[in-house]
């Protein structure tokens, strides 16, 4: 019907190896981008931006980052919250130290700093694997949060240990601080998400991504055929941390505006992003988006249904939320261990064969 290759002839290699080889996929991709860039900014309001879209986009970046490390390179990490904190505090220090530089560069530089920190904490991955590596990254999580609480230089010696994002502008429009309009916050996050997703997609399709996947599937075999594990693992940590750092910087500067390390970047954040990746689908960029959407939007949706529509007591809805989200996570993991991305993949396969499945 809609989704099929018939009649879509490729006459050159670049055409054949493009990101979306099927015409319908390409149109869908451009349609999503068009709606995201050209429609949503005009209709979005404060509530939709700060409760749904901005956190969704920011978590999507974090999930892409973790997916590169865990989904593509097979290195389990529980340090995501800590690395997001690095991004946030790096961004804060840069914003206050160089107030004249555009915030975009601060966010990118914060990603770069996080990449360096991530690569440093990735060094143990050369020696240890699996659960042991998870414990090593857990150490990173606790160490980094402790560091940002302990060393007053990171929060410019403020009395409370909170960091506050000063107002910063892009093309004359405030994107951080309280008077930033909803559409500007949304757009700046969207631009970063698009940049990160395109970058991640192309990296994972290139030789670097293939070396990550080789390490993931069987590291000894990969080493024998000439993949350098040092390079593959450390680049995975660095690239992954780069994305996570960007998401941490946006989380602090654009979304919340004020954070403290222990409250916003605790171990629960690491687990949340890990759940997004597992639920969305390991080793899939689309899965990162699906997982982030699932875990950001579902709780808010349940809350609106429970409290605003049905008028139930807030604490009951909050408890039900945990039950329902938990049950859904279990349901998906049992029914579809490869995540939402696999459901999507299966649907596409079915569509391609429809109406003559074999």
């Amino acid at each position: 019907m809609l989704y099929r290759e018939a009649g879509d002839f490729k006459t050159s290699y670049p055409e054949d190896s493009q990101t979306f080889p099927i015409a319908f996929d390409r149109w869908r991709y451009w349609a999503v981008l068009a709606i995201a860039f050209l429609v949503i900014p005009f209709v979005i309001n404060d509530y939709w931006a700060s409760s749904l879209m901005v956190p969704f986009l920011i978590y999507a970046i974090a999930a892409i980052g973790l997916n590169i490390l865990t989904g593509y390179c097979g290195q389990v990490s529980l340090g995501t919250g800590g690395f997001m904190a690095v991004g946030a505090y790096a961004c804060y220090k840069l914003m206050t130290a160089f107030p004249d530089v555009n915030i975009v560069f601060h966010v990118l530089l914060a990603g770069g700093i996080t990449a360096a920190v991530g690569a440093a904490f990735g060094l143990p991955s050369l020696r240890i694997k699996g659960f042991y590596l998870a414990v090593a990254t857990l150490a990173a999580q606790f160490f980094l949060v402790w560091l940002f609480n302990k060393v007053a230089w990171f929060y410019n010696y403020s009395a409370s240990g909170q960091i506050n994002a000063p107002e910063r502008f892009i093309f004359g429009t405030a994107v951080t601080g309280p008077s930033a309009p909803a559409w500007a916050q949304y757009l700046v996050c969207l631009v970063f998400v698009t940049f990160c997703a395109v970058l991640a997609r192309n990296l994972t399709r290139g030789s670097l991504g293939r070396s990550w996947m080789a390490i993931r599937d069987m590291d000894i075999a990969a080493e024998i055929i000439g993949v350098n594990p040092l390079k593959a693992k450390l680049t995975a940590f660095a690239v992954s941390s780069f994305f996570i750092g960007i998401s941490g910087a946006l989380f602090f500067a654009v979304y919340l505006g004020a954070v403290e390390a222990g409250d916003s970047f605790g171990i629960t954040k690491s687990f949340l992003v890990l759940f997004m990746v597992i639920l969305g689908g390991l080793g899939s960029i689309f899965g990162s988006f699906a997982g982030a959407a699932f875990l950001v939007i579902l709780p808010v949706f349940l809350k609106i249904i429970g409290v605003d529509v049905l008028g139930w007591p807030t604490e009951m809805v909050a408890h039900l939320q945990l039950v329902i989200v938990g049950a859904l996570i279990m349901f998906f993991l049992i029914k579809e261990p490869h995540g939402l991305a696999q459901l999507w993949r299966l649907a596409k396969e079915k569509l391609r064969l429809w109406p003559f499945p074999y």
Binding site: P55, N149, A159, S160, G161, P178, V307, V309, T314
Partner: protein
């Protein structure tokens, strides 16, 4: 057929559930779940019940009904922001987030949206300077007053000198717990005592190493800035190492029944600061029984009435209702806006007569608010736990903090904030 039934049912439910649009909206950003729920539930119940009482007994405030839409934050900054955005369009008059981390998110936002924020005994202390923080209020007391009041109490016990004594601040490792450190440092210099700070990480169920350190250092006094489950753990640990309870004092957030009951008789003598009365021995509680509880309209499970934090929620609601009534009187309009509410809060004056009229004589300190001073007069009191009678009682009058030290610090911190954010301090 079933779909249709479901649709009908949900539409009916929607219509039944939508509250009658009341005119005075006091959103309650509560937390009835999570590690701090034990404190959040009681406060939210007290806040809601007082407004229910006003609606049932007096027909609202100045003839206009009050509504208290609740939104669950779980003490989480992200959910707090979501709650704020979700409720602000309903015509919210004042926000009371009951969490220092959410307060920090909201301070810049309320400035832009023009909605007052009341952080009673928590939040950013330097918000007392109303010339910088136009929409944020923290009367009647703040953390720095609390720190100073605690030290003043220790001074009283030692005939006015703490020279060479050791005081330890045991605190939650976050914005809330770090707030008093600058004040205590200044006071340590002034009075010549030695200050050490020991942090407890969220959520604080495990404090063995902290109490080991206390055992080693043997401080003369401990000031404690904890909240939620870490309070009861700390009281229990103090009992375990045999620390003299009368030298262990919590801030007002570390002094409820929840915190001392688990330790049983060992908690006897534990002290906490307070800025309002304890217990249910006030005329207002008879009215709450008649109009709210007996009418089946009590918030939550209705089992918190008269507890310390219930009283605090009730006191917060009382202060908000007084300001709303003042605003109605000043403008002559029954349906006030957030801007009128702000102006009324800025000129709020709580007299002994006001409290008596509300059925809570002598419940809190007498104070007044001005533009320069959004924090009241900083009067606090000390409460002590009696494990046999199982009740908290105030053991002192409301006494002032060291204004000289506290106000200088407030001035410095608020001016730094103003400089960082390009605010010109002014009263108009």
């Amino acid at each position: 057929m079933t779909t249709k039934k479901l649709m009908t049912a949900s539409v009916v439910a929607l219509m039944a559930a939508t509250p009658v649009m009341a005119d005075l909206v006091f959103p309650s950003l509560s937390y009835r779940t999570g590690p701090f729920a034990a404190g959040g539930i009681a406060f939210a119940d007290g806040y809601a019940d007082y407004f229910t009482l006003l609606n049932e007994r007096d027909g609202g405030i100045g003839g206009v009904m009050a509504s208290v839409p609740e939104c669950e934050t779980a003490y989480n900054a992200e959910k707090g922001v979501e709650c704020y955005e979700a409720t602000k369009a309903e015509g919210a008059l004042v926000y009371q987030p009951l969490a220092t981390s959410i307060t920090y998110q909201l301070i810049p936002k309320v400035e832009v949206d023009g909605i007052p924020l009341h952080t009673m005994g928590y939040g950013r202390t330097s918000a007392k300077n109303g010339e910088v923080f136009r929409h944020t209020f923290n009367y009647p007391v703040n953390y720095w007053d609390g720190a100073s009041a605690g030290v003043n109490h220790f001074l009283d016990l030692n005939d006015g000198s703490l020279e060479g004594r050791k005081i330890t601040l045991l605190h939650f490792n976050g914005a809330y717990g770090k707030e008093p450190i600058p004040t205590l440092e200044a006071l340590a210099e002034k009075h010549g005592f030695e200050l050490t700070t020991i942090a407890i990480d969220y959520p604080g169920q495990e404090q063995k190493s902290q109490w080991l350190q206390i055992r080693r250092e043997r401080p003369d006094y401990i000031l404690f800035w904890g909240w939620g489950v870490m309070n009861q753990v700390a009281v229990q640990e103090a009992a375990n190492i045999g620390y003299p309870m009368e030298n262990f004092m919590g801030i007002w957030w570390s002094g409820s029944e929840n915190d001392v009951l688990p330790a049983g008789a060992a908690a006897d003598g534990y002290k906490a600061l307070a800025f309002h009365e304890m217990g249910s021995d006030f005329p207002v509680f008879d009215d709450i029984q008649t109009y709210v509880v007996d009418a089946g309209k009590a918030a939550g499970a209705g089992d918190q009435i008269g507890s310390v934090l219930y009283n605090r929620g009730l006191y917060a609601a009382f202060l908000a209702a007084e300001a709303a009534a003042d605003a109605q009187e000043a403008t002559g309009e029954p349906e006030i806006t957030a801007a009128m509410m702000r102006d009324a809060m800025e000129s709020l004056e709580i007299t002994a007569q006001d409290m008596e009229d509300a059925g809570i004589p002598g419940f809190g300190p007498v104070f007044s608010v001005t533009c320069q001073n959004h924090g009241g007069d900083g009067l606090a009191s000390v409460a002590q736990w009696d494990a046999t009678a199982q009740e908290w009682s105030l053991i002192s009058d409301f006494f002032p903090s060291d204004g000289e030290v506290v106000n200088a610090l407030i001035k410095a911190d608020s001016e730094a904030f103003a400089a960082e954010n390009d605010i010109t301090p002014s009263c108009d």
